[in-house]
């Protein structure tokens, strides 16, 4: 087993050099890294929650700083912190129940557990917490949807829970860590299967003889469209090429290879084509707490065009893309400026950039992302189903705890 620090350094390095691309890959790697951090963390007898939280925070802080624009890293760090808190809470409530109602309640608890043996520990914790707070709509929904959608979450977690529950307080530390690891494993599972879960909903949204428009390339969109095609829906796809990286070309190639009728258009032709389009389906880089979307450059223009012609603008986003921060937070870096060489050939224009001899002062700006305000988004399709932009705050309340919004241990001094 390699040292955690070397793993962390390696991942930091990759983030810094911008070698990992795509929020799904980043999210998965972050979760895996945090899992090994937790599993190698020595837990003291007292205050083990704080110890775990501090360990995760210490690593998380570095990871976020390494590439602040990749919001998925921060999301996963906060998710893991949330998981630790929830597990701690669920253990605490269980202990409280144990103290209050004596051993007899153990059976009751087991019965409840038996009913929901498929639930994830986090959900149980949320349910436990719900005794203290008014129940959230999401937990109610999740109770049913999750049990139907995810039968694969084995009962091993529940079993071990049940087994270790009877063990006395001394081994509680090991149990907490064990539970947390279980939950993180589930999180990793969720991230890697989010495509499928989103794609499953495709049939409900795409109908016969519709025209779909998308921009750039997104794996989620690809799987979504393909899932609809699998279900014998016949429809057309317009792909805006997504300058300057032209990833739309790749998407179009892939779609055509899978037998979808695909047309490539330039980004600037979007407005001209939008009147023929029934629905815009795009991927996102991140979904902010207010329901705004950070998405590949050019999408705001598409969203405006869609609004003008009252075409639904649907954003596909795995739950790891949900960011609990608001776009106006000062520590949120909304954009990344990439190399101008994607736009134009350095050699051909080198004389225009020779500021020393005064022949030119050409500047090239190549932003990666756009911000699409919530009012332009019609629907979010996440792995837990479709949601309205105004509902995003509730999702975030379920996935994150408010204490973790600022991962930095030191409070930031005002600039």
């Amino acid at each position: 087993m390699p040292d955690v620090q070397t793993l962390v350094n390696e991942f930091l390095n990759q983030l810094k050099k911008r070698k990992i691309e795509g929020s799904q890959a980043t999210a998965k790697q972050t979760a895996e890294l945090l899992r090994s951090v937790i599993s190698q963390q020595r837990v003291p007898h007292t205050n083990q929650t704080t110890a775990l939280i501090n360990a995760v925070r210490a690593v998380g802080e570095q990871l976020i700083a390494a590439n602040p624009v990749e919001l998925a890293v921060g999301n996963i760090v906060r998710r893991v912190l949330h998981i630790i808190r929830e597990e701690d809470l669920s253990l605490a409530t269980a202990a409280m129940a144990g103290l209050g109602v004596s051993a007899a309640s153990d059976d009751e608890d087991d019965v409840e557990r038996g009913e929901n043996s498929v639930l994830s520990a986090a959900v149980v914790a949320a349910a436990a917490r719900s005794t203290l707070r008014p129940p959230s709509l999401q937990t109610l929904l999740e109770d049913t949807s999750e049990s139907a959608a995810a039968p694969h979450t084995s009962s091993s977690g529940g079993e071990s829970d049940g087994r270790s529950r009877s063990v006395e307080k001394g081994s509680k530390s090991r149990k907490l860590k064990h539970d947390v690891l279980e939950a993180v494993n589930e999180l990793i599972q969720d991230i890697s299967t989010c495509y499928e879960q989103i794609a499953e909903q495709a049939v409900e949204h795409i109908h016969h003889n519709e025209v779909i428009l998308t921009l750039g390339s997104s794996n989620t969109v690809l799987e979504f469209l393909y899932a609809a095609k699998e279900k014998q829906r016949s429809f057309k796809v317009f792909v805006a090429e997504g300058a300057p990286r032209y990833q739309g070309h790749l998407l179009a190639k892939e779609l055509a290879a899978r037998g979808l009728q695909t047309t490539i258009i330039t980004d600037s032709a979007v407005f001209a084509m939008i009147s023929r389009v029934n629905m815009v389906i795009v991927g996102a880089h991140a979904v902010m707490a207010n329901g705004g979307v950070i998405a590949p450059v050019g999408l705001n223009m598409v969203a405006l065009a869609a609004q003008r012609h009252a075409v639904p603008f649907v954003v596909l986003a795995g739950s790891h893309k949900l960011c609990p921060l608001y776009p106006h937070n000062p520590e949120v870096l909304l954009n990344e400026l990439r190399s101008p060489s994607e736009l134009l050939d350095f050699g051909e224009f080198s004389d225009c950039m020779d500021s020393a001899s005064g022949t030119g002062s050409l500047h090239v700006v190549n932003p990666t992302f756009d911000y699409v305000p919530p009012k332009l988004v019609s629907l979010f399709i996440t792995d837990t189903g479709g949601h309205n932009p105004s509902y995003v705050y509730r999702l975030i309340a379920d996935y994150y705890s408010a204490d973790d919004l600022v991962v930095k241990r030191r409070p930031t001094t005002g600039s």
């Binding site: 070397t6 350094n9 390696e10 390095n13 810094k16 050099k17 911008r18 070698k19 700083a65 590439n67 602040p68 870096l333 400026l337 990439r338 190399s339 101008p340 060489s341 994607e342 050939d345 350095f346 050699g347 051909e348 080198s350 004389d351 950039m353 020779d354 500021s355 020393a356 001899s357 005064g358 022949t359 500047h363 090239v364 190549n366 001094t413 600039s415």
Partner: protein, 730 residues
């Protein structure tokens, strides 16, 4: 993607498994030049901050991300500083990336460095350079991907073991007016085979005054097509085969990588080593060679051409930089006054304070600087911990660590202030001046070889001695109330002897003055008027040898040429006779004529002979006998001149033919004397019997008219034919 196990790579010595050998790089942490003086007297060039990060970090970061696994850092001057910097940095603790330092005090050039590496390579197993390696300077910034270039290099190597090096080049236009790239380097001419990408010609010191470029004729003969470029930039990144190291050891006079090594390989075709080029398109690569390229590359970094090597991603444990609107990079913890204006494309390091009404634009400011009120900073590179008091004005200057600029001082464009210099209040530092606490080394001679002169090492060691000395010097200057830099100033203004005043603007951080450009454009236009068609050479194009056309031209040209050549030789000869010039001098003159008319030695022999006979003829004579006498006199005196051109038998035959021609055409007076003079020539050893005999041989099939003189000389020939037999009898 796992790192190949080193032991495994060593065990499998299968040549096909070359890919598994870890990729290595040799990084020269010394530029072996003096372009960055006086700063480099106190700190090695590779540690100078480039947009607040030492240059070597850019190079190492690139090597690491390009997949290089082992780097040998070659340290020469200030080696201690480089090594201690690397030890403190995180470079020694990287997984899958080892950095090894090699220290050498007495290397004065890149060639020496590679020779040292070769020696150590033989001696120590640990420093083994196994296979292909990347040769790079520690002042190169790049984000290119090496994969493609490496694959090409390896494939060429497999096919042709003489392909020892792949040079990385990049398209970049030069400024036609001043013959300079935007990096401040001289215009570079390259001839490349467009099909194989072989480099055929490399010239970075072309003479612009003539506006011509000389290519060896054999280049055009040997290559079916070649393209000549002057819009390429040399990135100074080379992928070398291990042979390169031994080549440097074999040719111990190779010093400079380009001037000696590359040109040496291109000219010397005995070994047949070949150099190829790989052109990069979307990637960035540039070497910081002088202050101008320091400025240009800094701007490229700020404009994010080097992504991901940009300020907001290149934070090595420092506080993070944040990119704000209009290319402003700001670290945290900056104290900036409300009224201060920070313009676009500016980088400000952490802990810097900026006072009221201060204006900063297009500049890089390091960490912990204190900038007062009403200061104007434009296009400057201000390093760490610098104090700039109120009301100063700085334009296009480089200011090193610890400098104090007192209130109201002005830095004119192109100023370089080295470490800890103090500029007095209200003092105006003149443009392009270089100021250092250290005295300017005296033993500078403005020789081209200065760059390799031992002064580098001498000064390097002098500085390495101790900081105490410098400190004491500082104290000394501190106590003097009025120094070269105004009240309370400290530092010596270096006189600009290198390059002279004329060339200062070429390599300075300051933009090129408008009048210089106008001047250059004017001279260029004048040149264009001089050329007949007035058309420019295309930036790059393929030149194919179209032999037919040029041959016809050649023919006519050569006829006229021969005539003029003979005339010139004759005139030279007559001048020599009248002015009593020494024979050897006359030979020299004729040789130069021969070269300028592109003639063979036989032509010279003919022309000189003609001149001599003409002279003999023109000398007054009464009868045929006196004419013969004249001829004999001339030959006794000037024979030496003629015989130097009689190298082989063909030259001698040429003389006889020439003589024959004279007798029948221009100087009929000689006709009756033909045999006698020929005999005389034979006696004087100007022509030998073989020549005469083969001349006769040649004439056998000629017309009767042409045989007049052969018949006349029949007697002599007969005699000659018998003579050897007599010898044999004896």
């Amino acid at each position: 993607m796992g790192p190949p196990k080193k032991s495994a790579a060593r065990v499998s010595e299968d040549p096909d498994e070359l890919v598994r050998v870890p990729l290595q790089a040799v990084l020269l942490a010394d530029s072996f030049t003096t372009k960055f003086r006086p700063i480099t007297l106190e700190r090695p060039k590779v540690l100078l901050p480039l947009v607040n990060v030492p240059m070597i970090d850019y190079t190492l970061t690139w090597l690491e991300s390009a997949g290089v696994e082992e780097v040998f850092v070659f340290c020469c001057s200030h080696s201690k500083q480089v090594i201690s910097y690397l030890e403190k940095s995180e470079w020694f603790s990287q997984p899958n990336f080892t950095v090894t330092t090699i220290e050498s005090q007495n290397s004065v050039s890149a060639g020496d460095a590679l020779r040292v590496i070769y020696e150590r390579n033989v001696l120590f197993v640990t420093l083994k350079v196994h296979g292909d390696f990347v040769l790079i300077n520690g002042d190169t910034v790049s984000n290119m991907s090496l994969t493609q270039a490496l694959i090409e290099h390896k494939e060429r190597k497999k096919k042709d073991s003489n392909a020892v090096m792949t040079m990385i080049i990049k398209h970049s236009k030069t400024n036609p007016a001043i013959h300079q790239s935007r990096l401040g380097t001289d215009e570079l001419f390259m001839a490349i085979d467009p099909n194989t990408k072989q480099l055929l010609y490399y010239e970075d010191k072309a003479d612009h005054s003539k506006g011509t470029l000389h290519l060896d004729k054999s280049l055009l003969v040997d290559n079916p097509s070649l393209s000549l470029h002057h819009d390429k930039q040399d990135c100074y990144i080379d992928i070398c085969s291990p042979e390169v190291l031994s080549l440097f050891t074999d040719n111990f006079d190779y010093q400079h990588l380009r001037r000696h090594f590359v040109k040496g390989l291109l000219v010397d075709d005995i070994m047949g080593y070949k150099i190829f080029v790989h052109e990069i398109h979307s990637d960035y690569a540039a070497r910081i060679d002088n202050f101008r390229s320091y400025d240009t590359v800094s701007k490229d970094i700020i404009h994010r051409w080097t992504y991901p090597l940009v300020p907001d991603a290149m934070n090595f444990g420092n506080t993070a930089m944040k990119l704000e609107r209009q290319g402003m990079y700001r670290a945290s913890e900056i104290l900036q006054s409300q009224s201060a204006v920070v313009g676009p494309f500016t980088v400000i390091g952490s802990g810097t304070k900026i006072g009221n009404h201060t204006k900063i634009s297009n500049s890089v400011i390091g960490e912990g600087c204190k900038i007062g009120s009403n200061v104007v900073i434009e296009g400057c590179y201000i390093w760490d911990n610098i104090t700039i008091e109120d009301g100063c004005k700085l334009q296009h200057a480089i200011v090193c660590n610890g400098v104090i600029i007192k209130s109201g001082a002005v830095l004119e464009p192109g100023v370089v202030l080295s470490f800890k210099v103090v500029v007095g209040p209200e003092f105006v530092v003149p443009p392009y001046s270089k100021v250092s606490l250290l005295q300017q080394p005296i033993e500078e001679d403005s020789d081209e070889e200065l760059e390799y002169a031992d002064s580098t090492s001498a000064i390097g060691s002098q500085v390495d001695k101790s900081d105490v000395e410098i400190a004491s010097e500082v104290d000394k200057t501190h106590f003097s109330p009025v120094s070269e830099l105004g009240m309370g100033g400290a530092g010596h203004v270096w006189s600009t002897c290198e390059g002279g005043h004329e060339e200062e603007w070429r390599h300075s951080v300051a933009p090129i003055p408008k009048d210089k450009i106008l001047e250059a454009i004017k001279t260029m236009e004048d040149d264009m008027e001089l050329t007949h068609d007035g058309s420019f050479l295309p930036l790059s194009g393929e030149l194919k040898p179209n032999s037919n056309d040029s041959d016809d031209d050649d023919h006519e040209d050569s006829k006229e040429d021969s005539y003029y050549f003979e005339k010139e030789v004759e005139a030279t000869f007559l001048r020599a006779v009248h002015e009593n010039i020494q024979e050897s001098h006359l030979n020299l003159e004729i040789n130069s004529l021969k070269l300028s008319y592109n003639k063979l030695t036989a032509d010279c022999a003919g022309a000189v002979f003609y001149a001599m006979m003409k002279f003999a003829l023109d000398t007054p004579h009464s009868s045929a006998d006196s004419l013969l006498k004249n001829v004999q006199l001339v030959f006794t005196k000037w024979k030496q001149v003629l015989t130097t051109y009689l190298i082989d038998i063909d030259d001698q035959i040429e003389i006889i033919l020439k003589f024959e021609e004279m007798c029948s055409e221009s100087a009929k007076e000689f006709a009756p004397l033909f045999t006698k003079i020929l005999h005389h020539l034979y006696n004087e050893d100007v022509v030998n019997e073989d020549a005469i005999l083969s001349w006769e041989d040649e004439k056998k099939d000629a017309d009767e008219a042409d045989k007049v003189f052969v018949k006349q000389a029949q007697k002599l020939i007969q005699w000659l034919k018998e003579a050897p037999e007599e010898d044999d009898d004896e």
